[in-house]
């Protein structure tokens, strides 16, 4: 992770050593943007935290696939990013989608996340109870005070 702290205006989500890094640097030079910090994709959680705190003006991704990969992995909640008025910029690939289209995608993701969260809770509670019952019984049966 970079040495980022709060209050960054522009951050890049790209591995510094990745082949795309040179492309991103070239694009930053061409557009006159200064990246305040670079984050590896595995640290995008930290970018999300900064976005929610309102400390990020723009997040630059090498391409749309890089953003969508994080969206599907559940690490980038698009609706929150749009609500924070954070700009999302792509260095290459298909042109940046129309704002309405991106809004629709964010709404859809937010709906999916709500449904998924319900499933996580119901499934998590149910299977956790089964796991706990199994662990309790096995620990109860495995060796007693007289044998240990």
């Amino acid at each position: 992770m970079s040495n980022a702290t709060r209050g960054h205006a522009v951050v890049v989500v790209c591995e510094r050593t990745a082949p795309a890094a040179a492309r991103v640097e070239g694009w930053l030079r061409d557009t006159g943007l200064n990246a305040d910090a670079w984050y590896a994709p595995r640290d995008v959680d930290e970018v999300d935290r900064l976005v929610r705190e309102g400390g990020i003006q723009a997040v630059v991704f090498p391409d749309a696939q890089a953003l969508l990969h994080e969206v599907w992995a559940g690490r980038v909640p698009l609706a929150h990013w749009l609500a924070a008025q954070t700009q999302i910029r792509f260095v290459s690939g298909p042109p940046f989608p129309d704002e309405h289209w991106l809004g629709a995608l964010a709404d859809s993701q937010a709906r999916w996340r709500r449904v998924h969260r319900r499933r996580q809770i119901i499934g998590g509670v149910t299977l956790s109870l089964v796991a706990l019952a199994a662990a309790f019984l096995l620990s109860w049966l495995a060796g007693g005070p007289t044998r240990i």
Partner: protein
């Protein structure tokens, strides 16, 4: 209650040490113990001061009681069959944690995701057994071998168990930390380990439970990411701080209570 006073002096010593080190480094003194944004060398010396404080309590307390450390701690480690309690403890913590992680993996509350490169991962994993054994051994000597034993000498067992659990939990928050909502988890963990000592009169079982827990938590941490609600499954190395984790600690405490025979 001598142990409580000695325990209270550890953070005071650590704070004085931190303040002196910060001054020497030309940095402002902090009101709280905090490692955040400190230069590496200050962090290392801070740690060294803390270790000196812990060692002073571990060695000084038996002397205050008029005995030698070796003779005092030997009573906490009876030889023979009780040694098997260590293995039972490791197995029980492992069983609970592994089954819970499996349940959470199936229900997408955690995801498999390697968090480091191969070299760093190997380094971290290689250190896990030593970390588990070392942390469990030192913390159990300190919190159960010194603190709980001292409290049990001066008050009824129930009061001693509660107070020792509270101090154990508070000790994890003396330094500024990222998460404070994990406090009930530390409290329940303290309760489990105190009950384990109380029921067996030895440190074998608490060390086994503690070491087994750290072994699994630290061993699995580099491979998973929490995606479920923190109130349900916890976060980071604190799965025991979520609702399910608290229930698990309660059940494991019941296991210990049932299986081990009471005060010696």
């Amino acid at each position: 209650m001598r142990a409580v006073v000695m325990f209270a002096l550890i953070p005071v010593l650590a704070w004085v040490g931190q303040s002196l080190l910060l001054r020497r480094a030309g940095l402002p003194v902090r009101r709280r113990l905090s490692a955040r944004d400190l230069p590496g060398v200050v962090k290392q010396w801070n740690r060294a001061v803390l270790y000196v404080g812990v060692a002073a309590v571990l060695l000084g307390y038996p002397v205050l009681r008029g005995t030698t450390p070796a003779a005092y701690y030997a009573q906490c480690f009876p030889a023979g069959p009780p040694v098997r309690q260590l293995l039972w403890g490791v197995a029980a913590s492992t069983l609970y944690l592994v089954l819970l992680y499996l349940a959470w993996l199936i229900t997408d509350n955690i995801r498999l995701e390697v968090r480091h490169g191969a070299r760093r991962l190997a380094q971290r994993l290689a250190g896990v057994p030593l970390l588990a054994a070392g942390v469990a051994f030192v913390e159990e000597l300190l919190f159960r071998g010194v603190l709980l034993r001292d409290l049990m000498d001066s008050m009824p067992a129930a009061g001693a168990l509660v107070l020792a659990s509270v101090i154990f939990a508070l000790a994890h928050y003396v330094r500024a930390v990222k998460r404070y909502w994990t406090f009930p988890g530390h409290l329940a963990l303290g309760g489990l380990l105190c009950v384990a000592y109380w029921r067996t009169g030895a440190l074998w079982l608490p060390i086994g439970l503690h070491a087994g827990g750290i072994l699994i938590l630290a061993g699995i941490r580099p491979f998973i990411r929490y995606v479920g609600p923190a109130w349900l499954v916890g976060a980071s190395i604190f799965p025991y701080a979520g609702l399910v984790g608290l229930v698990a600690l309660g059940l494991l405490t019941a296991n210990v209570w049932i299986r081990f025979g009471g005060t010696p």
